[in-house]
């Protein structure tokens, strides 16, 4: 049985940053890192546009905080935002010291570009592969810490909870098929998002909400799960992300009449409006018949032709590559077809400013967490910074907790390992019969989520979705498992992931149904106005004994920015 002081689940930007922070907080402690993929495969790699940080003298913490809070439609916890904006520049500099190839100004300083919802240039970038460069930088840097020990391609199936304290995990080693108990005095969840519950998403195959489901099943609430971000510019068919930096650098969004239609929605910001509002504007235009019709549905044009080849090659080279590879166009000469695509989960594991959850010894950071930063709508380029700031904060907090925590006792852990291994073996590996394909249930869930919990929601649509998810859960009990091998059984992991996705989907739908207002990314056609009197509150979904979510509400922490109408 492997045992660590601090165990990080997830090998993306937040997880690795947490592991390094833990190792640096106390060099004598041991740090484990479990990831279901090799860390450099983590979905951070697909982030493109940049990381927000106040680095220029003409910028200020107050403006970054205000932009973030207004962007959140006042659902962000303002003390958390204020702390975040102060830490972000330090973390961006730290990344620079570790070798991140940030794009530079002529004087050699880190450059910045404009981004949606930000009033000034503060998005630091490494061309248009910022996430890729940050992930590889932080992963390669982590290799110099001998006290960080990795378990690559190990899939966590359960959190070990003993006397209301998290003491480790059960993980399936994919290569050997063996179940291991990996114990730790403190555990950090950094498992990323859940985009794969939707059909049309920018998210990679691995984004299946694992950490959220693990925490939820261990009794931790999931906060603000109705807040699902739709990015305005995904490529039709694949859902591949076309970065907001395309608009940051001056690209235009036009409808089939050739109009920059955002003049009717966000006249003062135009293409640099926040994602939730632009996505709604696009869907509204589609419904009014002003979208283009393509082989893969309606779309708008994203046009960078006027920027010229030199700017495109210097600042958006990956976009040109994606256009060539996946659409067969050269964006220097042709507009890019785009439409709104599920992109990011604002909601997540209920965690405080240091990543601590209500369960002792359990922390969460990055997209899987909700520390109160993003509220109803995350501003583009705040999430890479969030991974750094709250990854580091949770790593430090977990290391400090572990330094004084009692050791984990082996006896109950062995019993819990045995129970969990038996559960998975009998439910999946030894399962006979069954007539439902995993792929079919997953595709139906994805289509149903797209239809019922998309850019616009209604009571009827969400009600129907509740029933559909209930039906899929019943059918999941009858799945057919064709692969009984112990070696790299990806049908088993697909089943475990689908189980997690069905679990977290329910919390999204229940939270969305109960929020009878429109705020941030949560737009109810039947309740089009924001209602601060009733809903200036976080939703917290907690798993009831019968398996369904019950909802609690918690006040938003307001410090210096009184809620106002959100217009751009």
């Amino acid at each position: 049985m492997e045992s660590y002081d601090v165990l990080v689940i997830g090998g993306g930007l937040a997880g690795i940053r947490a592991a390094i922070a833990a190792a640096e907080t106390n060099p004598r402690i041991s740090v484990g890192m479990v990831s279901k993929v090799y860390p450099m495969r983590s979905h951070t790699v697909s982030a493109e546009g940049g990381a927000a940080a106040v680095l220029r003298p003409e910028d200020s913490y107050e403006t970054h905080a205000y932009d973030t809070i207004k962007g959140s439609d006042y659902l962000a916890d303002q003390d958390v935002v204020e702390a975040f904006v102060r830490e972000a520049p330090i973390e961006v500099i730290q990344m620079e010291h570790w070798g991140c190839p940030w794009s530079r100004e002529p004087d050699g300083k880190i450059s910045a570009r404009p981004f949606g919802g930000m009033t000034t240039w503060r998005t630091c970038f490494a061309a248009d592969k910022t996430g890729f460069h940050m992930l590889h930088t932080v992963f390669q840097t982590s290799l110099k810490y001998e006290q960080i020990h990795r378990h690559d391609e190990a899939f966590v199936t359960k959190l070990l909870i003993e006397d209301s304290r998290c003491v480790g995990v059960v993980a399936l080693d994919q290569r050997s098929g063996r179940f291991d108990a990996i114990t730790a005095k403190a555990v950090i969840l950094a498992t990323g998002g859940l985009g794969r519950i939707y059909a049309f998403t920018t998210n990679g195959n691995i984004c299946t909400g694992d950490g959220m489901a693990l925490a939820y099943r261990a009794g931790v609430g999931l906060k603000d799960m109705e807040m699902v971000q739709f990015h305005p510019t995904g490529l039709p068919f694949t859902g591949i992300l076309i970065t907001e930096a395309v608009r940051g650098e001056g690209g235009y969004l036009t409808n089939k009449n050739g109009e920059r239609f955002l003049k009717d929605y966000v006249p003062n910001k135009m293409e640099l409006g926040p994602r939730d509002i632009i996505s709604r504007a696009m869907v509204t235009e589609f419904e009014a018949g002003r979208g283009f019709e393509g082989p893969h549905g309606k779309y708008m044009n994203l046009d960078v032709r006027h920027l010229g080849e030199e700017v495109i090659d210097r600042k958006l080279p990956f976009m040109r590559e994606l256009g060539r590879e996946f659409v067969g166009i050269d964006i220097v000469h042709e507009p890019i077809p785009v439409r709104p695509v599920m992109h990011y989960m604002m909601g997540g594991v209920d965690a405080d400013i240091s990543g601590a959850t209500p369960v002792a010894g359990l922390y969460a950071a990055g997209e899987c967490a909700n520390v109160g930063l993003n509220g109803g709508n995350r501003l583009g380029s705040n999430s890479l910074s969030e991974c750094l700031v709250f990854g580091a904060a949770s790593g430090r907090a977990a290391a400090e907790y572990a330094s004084s925590a009692k050791p984990v006792t082996a006896n109950p852990v062995d019993a819990m390992l045995w129970d969990e291994a038996r559960r998975v073996e009998s439910a999946y590996l030894e399962k006979t019969g069954g007539d439902e394909r995993i792929g079919t249930i997953r595709e139906e869930m994805q289509r149903d989520m797209d239809a019922g919990a998309g850019v616009f929601r209604t009571k009827e649509g969400l009600g129907k979705l509740t029933d559909q998810l209930g039906g899929l859960r019943e059918r999941f009990e009858r799945i057919k498992i064709e692969d009984s091998s112990r070696t790299f059984n990806t049908e088993l992991t697909a089943a475990l992931e689908l189980d997690f996705m069905l679990e977290v989907s329910q919390t999204i739908v229940a939270s969305a149904l109960a929020r009878e207002e429109s705020r941030g990314a949560h737009a109810r056609r039947d309740f089009p106005e924001r209602n601060d009197e009733k809903f200036l509150k976080h939703t917290v979904a907690v798993k009831r004994p019968d398996g369904r979510p019950s909802l609690e509400y918690r006040d938003v922490r307001i410090t210096n920015f009184k809620p106002q109408a959100r217009t751009y």
Binding site: V37, Y38, M40, R41, S42, H43, V45, S46, I90, I93, Q94, E96, H97, W98, G99, P101, W102, S103, R104, P106, D107, G108, K109, I110, K129, F132, H136, Q140, T141, L143, K144, D152, R175, G204, N205, I206, F237, T238, I240, F318, E325, F326, R437, I438, G439, T440, R442, E443, K480, I481, E482, D483, S485, R486, T487, F488, N489, T490, E491, A494
Partner: protein, 246 residues
């Protein structure tokens, strides 16, 4: 009109059951010209045979997971279009030169050790304190190492490398390119710490400069160039005993 279809032949191998890898044939619909080899594998796994195993994630050519041999050439399957192969069958096999764990899943632990061995992090005699801000770096200085920093660790270059195929002690294209990435970074002072690893007999001298690595790289990295430059660096240090030692 009859539904358009395509045949995929994929390697199947389960070490618990099979003595050797074999090809299994799947005839599947090909309804959309935008489909890639990875879409075909996903169709098979979802609708035909749930036991087919392979790695994938981002399906946009940046995570590096889905490299396989496609009709004998190392490719990212997320950007290998079926239309380029149809109507002939597409043969999908695990990347050459690696042990197979299962089906299309290769064992890349060897690379993970090699990556660490070249110390792929910034090494400085004295760390700059965080409060001092960033190192100044010009765009020209970034251009020195930019292409070598684009490596996604997809392993296509190892699958194409004849030297690695014969001797897996060879450090290999990606690891040498990444060592070069740090050696060329104006913030780094670790050249002398990395050279022993890359200059030893299983290092750069093994490369016969076939250049296949650079041809198959999906990200425009030129590992062959990195290897030649490293040879030059190493030679200069032996020839000029009092030369540039740092």
């Amino acid at each position: 009109m009859a539904e358009k279809r395509i045949t995929i032949q994929a390697t199947r191998y389960d070490p618990d059951k099979d003595s050797a890898p074999r090809l299994q044939s799947y005839d599947i619909p090909f309804p959309d010209e935008s489909m890639v080899v990875l879409d075909a594998l996903n169709y098979i796994k979802s609708h035909v045979d749930g036991s087919l195993s392979y790695r994938w994630s981002c399906r946009m050519g940046i995570c590096g997971s889905c490299g396989m041999m496609v009709n004998g050439t190392p490719k990212l399957t997320c950007s290998a279009f079926l239309r380029d192969y149809w109507p002939r069958p597409v043969i999908v096999q695990p990347l050459n030169n690696f042990p197979i764990i299962r089906d299309l899943v290769i064992d890349m632990e060897d690379f993970m050790h090699k990556l660490k061995s070249i110390k792929p992090w910034i090494i400085r005699k004295q760390e700059l304190p965080l409060g001092a801000g960033e190192h100044r770096q010009s765009t020209a200085q970034i251009d020195e190492f930019r292409q070598f920093s684009q490596c996604i660790n997809c392993m296509l270059c190892y699958a194409a490398c004849p030297v690695y195929g014969l001797n897996n002690e060879f450090l290999g294209p990606a690891a040498i390119a990444l060592a070069r990435r740090y050696n060329l970074d104006s913030r780094d002072e670790g050249l002398t710490k990395r050279l022993p690893m890359i200059a030893d007999s299983e290092g750069v001298w093994e490369c016969s400069f076939v250049g296949e690595c650079s041809v198959v790289c999906p990200k425009g990295v030129d590992p062959a160039k990195a290897i030649q430059q490293t040879k030059l660096d190493t030679t200069m240090r032996f020839v000029l005993p009092f030369g540039n030692r740092e």
